[in-house]
Symmetry: C2
Subunit: 412 residues, 2 copies
Amino acid sequence: MTPPLPGQTSLVQGTFPELNPPYRLLLGPGPCNVDPRVLRAASAPQLGHLDPFLLDMLGTIADQLRQVFQTQNELTLCVSGSGFAGAEAVLCNLLEEGDTLIAGSLGFFSGKIAEIAQRIGAHVILVESEPGQPLDPQQVAAAFARHPEAKLFATAIAETSTGLLQPLEELEQITHAHEALFVVDAVSGLGGIPINIEQMKIDACYAGSQKCLGALPGLAPVTLNAHAVEVIKRRRRPVQSYYLDLLALQRYWNGDHAYHHTACSNLLFAMHEALRIVLEEGLETRWQRHRLHGQALRAGLQTLGLTLLPRPGYELPVLTAVNLPPSVSENQLRQQLLTAYGIEVGGGLGSLKGHLLRIGLMGYNACRKNVETVLAALEQLLPSYGWPVQAGAALSAAATVYSQEDQASGHA
Amino acid sequence: MTPPLPGQTSLVQGTFPELNPPYRLLLGPGPCNVDPRVLRAASAPQLGHLDPFLLDMLGTIADQLRQVFQTQNELTLCVSGSGFAGAEAVLCNLLEEGDTLIAGSLGFFSGKIAEIAQRIGAHVILVESEPGQPLDPQQVAAAFARHPEAKLFATAIAETSTGLLQPLEELEQITHAHEALFVVDAVSGLGGIPINIEQMKIDACYAGSQKCLGALPGLAPVTLNAHAVEVIKRRRRPVQSYYLDLLALQRYWNGDHAYHHTACSNLLFAMHEALRIVLEEGLETRWQRHRLHGQALRAGLQTLGLTLLPRPGYELPVLTAVNLPPSVSENQLRQQLLTAYGIEVGGGLGSLKGHLLRIGLMGYNACRKNVETVLAALEQLLPSYGWPVQAGAALSAAATVYSQEDQASGHA
């Protein structure tokens, strides 16, 4: 016997038309368009989260991720959530209420480290840089001197709100000199810029699926070394989150596969295929590709008379943050790119809102065609804002970068 | 300038063959196979998480969910995670450290409410039922009498570890008589059994995407009424989780769409299409369909001489928990179903491990073909375990249920 059905009158029902999403060229801070192979892989019929085939696949993905992260770390897996879920997983497993961390904020995204840690109940010591500037290692050293009890230092290698590439070497040395954990946000970097967990002595790292790895959103790769795992094992209180408990996830992924949650087979299919593509291309070739197209884009943008936000020498290859002249409406320009060209780019966040374009060339999208497409669109659109451009100059500047590269690699 | 590439020698790289996942008939506790329309919708090229088309779609999905939940609740959205992420979102937003909740545990899944709340730092008063038995309202009333400070009572309407349908009416009355919040886990029920948030006076409810709604895993629908939202707004401390902060998610979904996290467009496409299918069928028709096929399955299983775990009258239509005779190895039988038939069914959890089959008929999978397929497979397999069956009897018992239904509805 089942409960009686409620009366028809209580049911309010409408019909909804089918969805026909437009095609967008995703040149913002991620997601990027994925290789068609990835969507094809993702559309396979589902598997249960405890199917032996799926459990084997978890082991394969963990192995693929170890190669991409360049680590032997046993605890290497995906959290079922976005990059922020990965950040929260790492932070809420490593930190307990009352613990001190030093958070290196470079802008909106690495700034979230402080917010996440504060909610956990940790004592946050914030070290900030100006927009587009890297962290000052002296300030981090000073924070450690004032707070020798700090349990960890965390920052991002790739801050996409300002297009900044943060050098890590000095920060790592300072952190480990104080016997704290070195935690790195690689959400936008992994698969696009050199990241080598063991060489860089990173204790815990989290990444994003939908950026330079070229998978779908919804899975956050994380890796922790034995020292970080030991810190979790020595906690006084259980991790505050069931969903993000890394040792339980580790058991599901790389242990006896004890049920923890329903992982989505189709996102895992996509991740597996994306990582195959990364490893088929090869990490160095892939980093070099992202570097080349980022360089060509910057050359073109500067030829349009635009300036870049990050300090010279610290430009992130995979995302370029370009300042807009006062006469150009960020909102209107992005709107035009979206509606007239079907191109998505990012805008400024927080205090940078209204003054910035953030153009991403990530994963499958890091190619010459896209560099030329976005430069050509800007060349057509900018004059209507009273910003004169020399016809063809931007594409020509990009072409010069490509031909220099060809010569350097002996293909010319 | 980008950092120098590390030496080739540091890179360990392997190749990975393409994945060819087997086709499984998913007759476990979820995920279920989805309507082919859902996989097709999910394979559309991605959209950014702030794309105007995607933001419109969020509004549409929220409207669809309001119809499926039968509520006008403004705070109706999907958390980007599994059903447990939905559970944790509801509990960690409503509860603060030191708050008391009464947790009604019917088995493995509703039992997780207690674990999640304990990790949050809440004071958990556990009321448990024996496997397959509903909660005793007297015990819940007694718990409230001992703990009048209890802030909320939470249990599940559909406990899939035991195949139990939990009546809610008395529990709701007791809870509200004590001015506590009435929180319901509908992970496995929504879209398959009658759930009407407003009629049932549920203050907060969370569901799963991959069960009777027939979408892909990775999104957890939640709905909270104004009273529950008010409880969140009056918190003394911020919600411990950034990722699961419901008011921030509400702002992204139904407010000014301020960025919160990268929602996965493809899982949302799948959810939109799945909810279209639910509403095209109509809620009552869909509940009736799940009820009918559950009844036919139970009739067939009982004709095979098997007994059901739940107390008669409390059987969950969408998942049938059937006891195995001592001579039948659960593990081996499930293995045979999987390898020889490509059928996934669930097994026993915890103390029930080794003694139970859990057969789900959810969403697209709730149909006569699947009832007959699994009954026929069991009829073939059981005799090899020394459990004699009468050839054709199970299918015949199921057919009787179908013909009675046809007669009752005038189609015979």
